[in-house]
Structures are given as structure tokens and as C-alpha cells.
């Protein structure tokens, strides 16, 4: 039995949480930049410590559970959300392989974790015993379950080309050509599904503040809300890191060391996520489902078909 990689086990969650926290500040500053305003710029250099201040505020808030809520599930839901995201990072080959970078079904593991992540939202909506939360939970269930299908199918192309579910092998397979070139279609579908998975605008229907107040986390406050919040941002980092790993060659790059390349590529995708939020309105629920089942599903199937055909022709 190999010894437990203690350092990565301790460090990865800490780094991810810190990243997610900083990301809340980065997002607000970037949105400010694009919206002709400042954003938080008072606490610390450039407002950097705003995220820390917010964290302290959330931590010290009264830990309150609405009397009508299903207490056990209500508390469990944000923990599930947080846990599944953090566990997913275990297999991301951040730099030197991560915790379990070599897991030969790494990709499946991540998909499984994302599937479990739906429970956080659905259970939160259910346990709140509030109509707005329930509607949010319902939307989340339908949206995330459908988008998981296309996400998995879009990844199939990568798996076929790389011939492995291990993320390390997939990165290694891209040493020549990044998969974004042969798998461009898959990349687009994956990214769209990723936005829906992290329920970010324009696919933030489970929250849909203009319609549902705050959707599934309407009744949450304090650090339990904070966990949903941080899990959402960690989810963005996860999807971006995943996109980097699967399509942008992971840490591959010239001159700079691998971790720097990895961070740069991930950062660009994260910024793109934020830009989307600044730019786009939200489609209606049925439009979102229509886009998924009528456009993205055929596209991802087409991608698998085309990839398979090319591979077959090459082989023969």
C-alpha cells in the first residue's frame, strides 16, 4: 500500500477554497470594469480583502435554520455541494499529479461527483419547505440532469481520441495537438453544459433572482449560504480546470512551467464565465431545455459519430 499523499490532501482543499474566495472578488471587480463602475475597491489593496471581510461576516452570522425547514437535510445540503466539488479536485492533475491524478477512471469520477452535486441543490430546495426554493430545486433537477447527459457525451470524443479515462493520460495525449482543435464541437458543448452545471448566468435558472428571489437557497443564510456560494465558485474553477485539462493541453506549454500554464488557461476560461454573466440575458426554462435536448444533444452525438468515423478511417 502506498503512503497517503498527505501534503496534497491538505493543500488542495485549502488552495481551492482560497481560489474560490478570491474569485468572488475577481468577479465583482471584473463586472465593475465591464459595467462602468468600480466594484469593491476599499478593503485592502484594490479591494482584495473584500472576500475575506465577506467571509468573516458570513462566519459570524447567526446560524439560523427556519423553523419550518427539514433540519437535518437543510444542513446536509450545502455540505454535499461543497464536498462533491472538493472531491472532484482530487483527480485534476493540477501540477504534479494531484492527489489521485493517476486514477484510471478520473473522468468518470468527476462526472459522478457532478451528478451527486445535483443533490445539494435539489435537497436544499426540498428541505427549505419554501415555494420559491422548491421551484428553484425543481428547475435545478431538470436542468442539471439533462445537461449532464450532453456533458458526458461531449467528453466521449476526448476519451475516444485519448483512449483513456485518466486525466493524466488525456493531458499526455495532447502533447502534440490540443484537443480543442479536433474536438472543437465537443469543447463548445462541454462549456455550455459546464455553465449549466454550475448554474451560472445565463443558465442560472435554479437561482433566477428576477423570478425566484434566490431560488433554491432563498432560505439559507450565514455560512450555510456561504458554502453554496463558495461551492459555486469552486465549481467554476473546476469546470475551467477540467476544460483546460481536456481541451487545452493541461499544463503543456512553452517556456513557462506547467502549473503556470495551467493557471493561465484556467484563468482565461474563468474570465470568460464572468464575461458571459455580464453580457447575456437568461433564457426561459423551456428555451433552456429546448436548447439542451434539441440542439446540444444532437450536436454531441454528431461529435461522437464524427470522431469515431475519423478514427476508423485512420485505423484502416
Amino acid at each position: 500500500m502506498t503512503p497517503l499523499p498527505l501534503a496534497p490532501i491538505v493543500l488542495t482543499p485549502l488552495v481551492v477554497l482560497a481560489l474560490a474566495t478570491v474569485l468572488t472578488w475577481v468577479e465583482r471587480r471584473l463586472l465593475g470594469l465591464w459595467q462602468d463602475r468600480y466594484g469593491p475597491n476599499r478593503v485592502g489593496p484594490g479591494g482584495m480583502f473584500q472576500a475575506v471581510a465577506d467571509g468573516i461576516k458570513l462566519l459570524f452570522k447567526q446560524d439560523w435554520v427556519p423553523p419550518f425547514a427539514d433540519r437535518g437535510v437543510f444542513v446536509l445540503a450545502p455540505a454535499i455541494g461543497m464536498m462533491t466539488v472538493l472531491l472532484s479536485f482530487a483527480v485534476i492533475p493540477l501540477a504534479a499529479g494531484g492527489i489521485a491524478g493517476g486514477l484510471n477512471v478520473g473522468l468518470l469520477f468527476i462526472l459522478a461527483m457532478m451528478g451527486l452535486g445535483v443533490y445539494a441543490v435539489v435537497l436544499a430546495g426540498w428541505a427549505s419547505d419554501s415555494k420559491y426554493a422548491l421551484l428553484g430545486g425543481m428547475r435545478a433537477a431538470a436542468q442539471m440532469i439533462s445537461y449532464e447527459v450532453f456533458m458526458a457525451l461531449s467528453l466521449l470524443g476526448v476519451v475516444m481520441v485519448a483512449g483513456s479515462f485518466s486525466l493524466r493520460d488525456i493531458v499526455a495525449a495532447q502533447s502534440g495537438l490540443w484537443f480543442i482543435i479536433p474536438q472543437g464541437l465537443g469543447f463548445v458543448v462541454f462549456l455550455l453544459a459546464g455553465i449549466a452545471e454550475t448554474h451560472r448566468l445565463p443558465f442560472d435558472l435554479p437561482e433566477g433572482e428576477n423570478e425566484l428571489g434566490a431560488g433554491f437557497h432563498t432560505e439559507y443564510s450565514g455560512m450555510k449560504f456561504g458554502m453554496f456560494f463558495i461551492a459555486e465558485y469552486a465549481g467554476i474553477v473546476l469546470v475551467s480546470a477540467l476544460a483546460t485539462t481536456l481541451y487545452l493541453g493541461g499544463g503543456n506549454g512553452l517556456l513557462l512551467p506547467a502549473p503556470v500554464w495551467f493557471a493561465l488557461k484556467t484563468g482565461v476560461i474563468v474570465a470568460f464565465f464572468i464575461l458571459l454573466r455580464a453580457g447575456l440575458p437568461r433564457p426561459r426554462y423551456d428555451q433552456l431545455m429546448g436548447l439542451g435536448w434539441k440542439v446540444l444533444l444532437p450536436l454531441s452525438l454528431l461529435n461522437v459519430l464524427a470522431t469515431g468515423t475519423v478514427m476508423m478511417l485512420r485505423a484502416s
Partner: protein, 579 residues
């Protein structure tokens, strides 16, 4: 009176008791309670379409002294009809009612929008409408016991003992707010599923103020909707009976609080009609220019919040930045931003400051370019179009049935603008187009708003180029306050100033209404003077009140998200609804 020449015909029938002459020249006819429904239905039949029940209100006549030639009455109910033919034509039908608890038949089957107006009259005057489908209080809470616009009702909190709320009372009040579907004749479940009743508001990000809609939902689809208003009711009409004619002006700003001086406009025009004042041309053009600036400010808020209602976060920031520039100009001219109360009886408060042209010209030259950018960002965005096209559509006929005016009416394709159909102030001299839509859906309403911003810029540019010289206040003893230079020179004017400031101007008895094409539709003040320093009755007919009544019609069968888009596209302000 040549009846055949006007669009509204059918007035020459036996039911008419008397005609009354009013200061505003609107034909005013009295009918008996028994003749009311036949008269109104004949009118509706005779007038080829587009006859709108513009307003429906009442007067408590019991303390009024100047009622020469009018039939005896304790209460009068006024049916204000307006024909939307090529030129605006109006007629007032009045019904005299005797007794403390009078009743009369409902007309909500003739005009669906009478429903809320009749509820309002019941609520505020205690006049019952027989066969009304749902005669409940609408502006005051359901636990209220009196009828506030009656003359014997107190007007101020100081006339009451201190207010206290025991726990039991609080429970009682909260229970009264609970929604009971059966009271509205709603089913709790269909054959195969239970309905969910969702309380949207009074605090909800998308109801633009304090406004509650109760939704009967099947999944996310709306089966029925019940709007509940009155949370913002501040008794603006009652206040009009206490404040002097002059000191009421600032209250009007706060009715449609996004419209600023646009609200002063119909009020001061109505007072001027009663007093027989004609403001000088420069004052007229300053009024028009400021009103159009406020139209832009209000439409910008609409544009931004509309985009936000469908989930687009950024536009509202750009549009509020532009609105800020409008406020910069307003502040330079008036000294205030949102509620300048800048119009006066007989003119405006002060002349334009030095350098006003440059301020406005810079803005007028810059905004079109930004509007083009917003078109690309919002109006041409496919997701935005997908959310607004074909959503919440109604026809011109429906709009007229429900009393819809303003951009919501023009979006149905009817080029009807009060500034063109019945020009007031100096609009006759100004060139502008009336933008219209074709489908009457959310998208068209937004497009009309956006184009109106451009047309307002055009009007402002003309005001800029052709601003007449001369006085900014009318040379009339009732101009309040009188021109300052003259106050300091002759004792006669000084006395007027003193009386106007100490007691307020005394406006001759009479009745007058004045309408403007406000930011959201037709805004109309009907004033009754009994020859005193305060108004005997101030009636504020606001566009938002009429528009909100349509929500159940538009909301049935759509998704929650569509309802939010519909609410945004109606462009309402709750203070304008509840007054």
C-alpha cells in the same frame, strides 16, 4: 353643441337630464341612475370602436357650495369617456346620488376596466355597485373600516389618537392578508394535480416596488393571477384637499416618482384652466423641454430594468449612467434631481441658468450613439428577443377595453399620442414622430419606448434651437408666486405674493381636467374648486393603475419567467398606481 361632428355620438337621447358647462370645455352631461346603463351602452354602440372608459371616479358633494345648475346630489359618480379617433374627444357622464350609502349598477360588464375603478370608489367613498363581480377594498387594507375620501373622514394622523398595535391586532391584520383562493372562485386542484399558490411580492425583485400578485400555478405555468395593490397608497388625492393650490405641486412629483416635473404638468395646467391663466411661450417651452428630459430619464430606467428582468445584468448600469447625466441637467436648471417641483401656477419657478444650452446640447448629441450601442446589446440580442417576442401580446381593441394608453397602446399599432391628438403647451409647434409597434408584445413595447427616447431628443433639440425669449410667468393676479422683480416694485403684486404665501391663491369655482402624455401613458388631473384656497376634489387618473389591471389577462397560461417580462414591459410605478 354639434354632436355629429365629433367622434362620440349618441348623446342626444331622452335620458339626459342636464348639461353642465365646465372650465375645460369637456361636454358634461347628467343622467339619472336608471338611465345610466342604457346611456353608456348606447354610447358604446354608437361610437365606432375605440371608445375608452378613461376614468371613473366620484365626488363627495355634501360640503360643496358652488353647484349652480347642477342636480342635487350627495355624491356624484363621473364616467369619463374618451374616443381614440384621429383627434381626442371626451365626454363626461355624471350621475347624481342621494343618501349616505348610495348604490348604482356596475358597468364592469360594458368596460372590463371599470372593475378596479368601481372597487376604488367603493373603497374610498362607500358607494356600492350592484352586481359587481368582486366589490372589495382595493387601496386600503381589508381591515379598514371607513371610506377615506368622504369629507367627514379625517385627513391627518394627528387627528387620531396615537396608533398602537397589539399582538392580537397584528395577527388579525396578517390573517386578513392571507390569500383565500375560494374567495376568488379559484379551484385548489384540477382533475389530476394540486395547484400551488405563489405569493409574488409585495417584496420581490421584479415587481418594481410594493406590489403583490398571487399566482395559481400548475408547475411553472400560470393558471390565473390576482394582482393585489394598495401597499403604496399615501392618500395623494386626500392631501390635495388640504394643501393649498400652490403647495400641492411637490406632492404631484411623487405620484409617478420617475416622471418628476411630468407630474406637475397636468396639475398646473388644470389649475391654470380653472384660473384662466395662459402661461407665456417661454414658460411653455421650458415645461415641454423639462418634461421630455424626464421622459428620457424614465424610459432609460424602464429600458435598463426591463433588460435586468430577463436576466441581463449590465445594461441597467449604462442606462443609469445616462440617466445620471439627465439629472445633472435637471439639477443645474432646477436645483433638484428626481422631484424638482419646478412648475408654478402660471409658469415655471425660475428662468434657465446661464450655459444651459451647452449642457443639454452635449447630452443630446451624445445619447443617440449610446442608444445605438444599447440596440446591439439588448434589442438585437437573440436571447432577449426570444424572451420578449410574442410574449404578453394584446390587440388595439383589448388595449382600449382595458384603458391602456401610452407606449403600451402604441405598441399595438395605433399611432395615438395625446401630444399630437390634443396638443397642449407648445407641442403643436414641435415636430416629432409617433413610434408604433405591430404585435403589441413585450418586444414592441420596449421598441416603442426606445424610439420615444430618440423622439424626445428631437423635441429637446428643437426647444434648444427655438427657445423663445420673454417672461417665464404669466401676467395674471393668480400666478403663484408672482414675478419676483414686480413683487419688489409695486404694492399690488406684493399683496398678491403675501396672500399667496400666507393662505394660498383663491381659485375661482369650477371643474377642469388636464391631461398629458406622461412617461407611462395618459396622466390626468381633474380638479374641482369650490372657490377656496384648496381644491375641493383632486382626482389623479394615472396610467399605471389602468395597466396593472390587465395582468391576469396577460398572465394566464404563461410561465413565471414570462410574467416577469410582461411586468417589466408594462412600465409601471407603484406610487403611480396606488397614489
Amino acid at each position: 353643441m354639434v354632436l355629429s361632428a365629433s367622434p362620440i355620438t349618441g348623446l342626444d337621447q331622452p335620458g339626459m337630464m342636464a348639461t353642465q358647462s365646465t372650465r375645460d370645455g369637456v361636454r358634461t352631461l347628467w343622467v339619472t341612475v336608471d338611465d345610466l346603463r342604457p346611456t353608456l351602452s348606447t354610447l358604446k354602440e354608437h361610437t365606432p370602436a375605440l371608445l375608452m372608459l378613461f376614468d371613473l371616479t366620484a365626488i363627495d358633494e355634501r360640503e360643496r357650495t358652488h353647484r349652480d345648475g347642477q342636480p342635487p346630489a350627495d355624491f356624484t359618480v363621473i364616467y369619463h369617456l374618451m374616443s381614440l379617433a384621429t383627434r381626442a374627444d371626451e365626454v363626461r357622464i355624471k350621475v347624481a346620488l342621494l343618501g349616505d350609502r348610495p348604490t348604482l349598477p356596475t358597468i364592469s360588464d360594458l368596460w372590463p376596466n371599470a372593475n378596479w375603478y368601481e372597487r376604488e370608489i367603493w373603497d374610498l367613498f362607500g358607494i356600492r355597485f350592484e352586481n359587481h363581480p368582486f366589490l372589495r377594498r382595493i387601496l386600503t387594507p381589508p381591515t379598514w373600516t371607513d371610506h377615506p375620501l368622504r369629507k367627514d373622514h379625517y385627513a391627518r394622523a394627528t387627528e387620531m389618537p396615537p396608533y398602537s398595535l397589539t399582538e392580537e391586532q397584528e395577527r388579525h391584520e396578517q390573517d386578513a392578508m392571507r390569500f383565500d383562493p375560494s374567495a376568488w372562485g379559484m379551484q385548489r386542484h384540477s382533475d389530476h394535480s394540486d395547484f400551488m399558490f405563489l405569493n409574488l411580492g409585495p417584496n420581490h425583485p421584479s415587481v418594481h416596488g410594493v406590489f403583490r400578485i398571487i399566482l395559481q400555478l400548475e408547475g411553472e405555468r400560470i393558471v390565473d393571477a390576482v394582482p393585489d395593490i394598495g401597499f403604496h397608497h399615501r392618500g395623494a388625492e386626500k392631501m390635495g384637499e388640504r394643501q393649498s393650490w400652490h403647495t400641492y405641486i411637490p406632492y404631484t412629483d411623487r405620484v409617478d416618482y420617475l416622471g418628476g416635473v411630468m407630474n406637475n404638468f397636468p396639475y398646473v395646467m388644470a389649475v391654470e384652466t380653472l384660473a384662466g391663466i395662459t402661461p407665456p411661450p417661454r414658460a411653455q417651452m421650458i415645461r415641454v423641454m423639462l418634461a421630455e428630459l424626464f421622459r428620457i430619464a424614465s424610459h432609460l430606467v424602464f429600458y435598463g430594468t426591463m433588460a435586468q428582468d430577463v436576466g441581463q445584468l449590465s445594461p441597467v448600469f449604462y442606462m443609469f449612467t445616462d440617466r445620471e447625466r439627465v439629472f445633472g441637467i435637471i439639477e443645474a436648471i432646477c436645483g433638484f434631481r428626481m422631484h424638482p417641483a419646478w412648475f408654478r401656477i402660471g409658469g415655471v419657478a425660475m428662468d434657465l441658468p446661464t450655459g444651459w444650452e451647452d449642457l443639454i446640447r452635449a447630452f443630446v448629441n451624445d445619447l443617440p450613439r449610446r442608444l445605438d450601442e444599447y440596440d446591439a446589446m439588448v434589442m438585437r440580442n437573440p436571447v432577449f428577443r426570444g424572451r420578449t417576442k410574442g410574449v404578453g401580446a394584446y390587440t388595439t381593441a383589448e388595449a382600449v377595453e382595458w384603458g391602456v394608453t401610452g407606449p403600451g397602446l402604441r405598441a399595438t399599432g395605433l399611432p395615438w399620442d395625446y401630444r399630437r391628438q390634443a396638443p397642449y403647451a407648445c407641442y403643436e409647434q414641435l415636430e416629432f414622430d409617433i413610434p408604433t409597434g405591430a404585435n403589441g408584445d413585450c418586444y414592441d413595447r420596449i421598441a416603442v419606448h426606445v424610439e420615444e427616447i430618440r423622439q424626445s431628443l428631437r423635441i429637446i433639440r428643437q426647444c434648444l434651437d427655438h427657445m423663445p425669449a420673454g417672461p417665464i410667468k404669466a401676467d395674471h393676479p393668480l400666478t403663484t408666486p408672482p414675478p419676483r422683480a414686480r413683487t419688489l416694485h409695486d404694492i399690488e403684486t406684493l399683496i398678491h405674493h403675501f396672500l399667496g404665501a400666507a393662505w394660498g391663491p383663491v381659485i375661482p369655482p369650477g371643474e377642469a381636467r388636464s391631461c398629458v402624455e406622461a412617461t407611462k401613458g395618459l396622466n390626468c388631473y381633474t380638479l374641482v374648486s369650490d372657490g377656496g384656497t384648496t381644491s375641493y376634489r383632486t382626482r389623479i387618473r394615472t396610467p399605471s393603475f389602468a395597466h396593472l389591471q390587465m395582468i391576469p389577462l396577460l398572465g394566464r397560461g404563461v410561465m413565471i419567467a414570462d410574467l416577469i417580462a410582461i411586468l417589466g414591459s408594462i412600465d409601471f410605478v407603484m406610487a403611480d398606481v396606488d397614489r
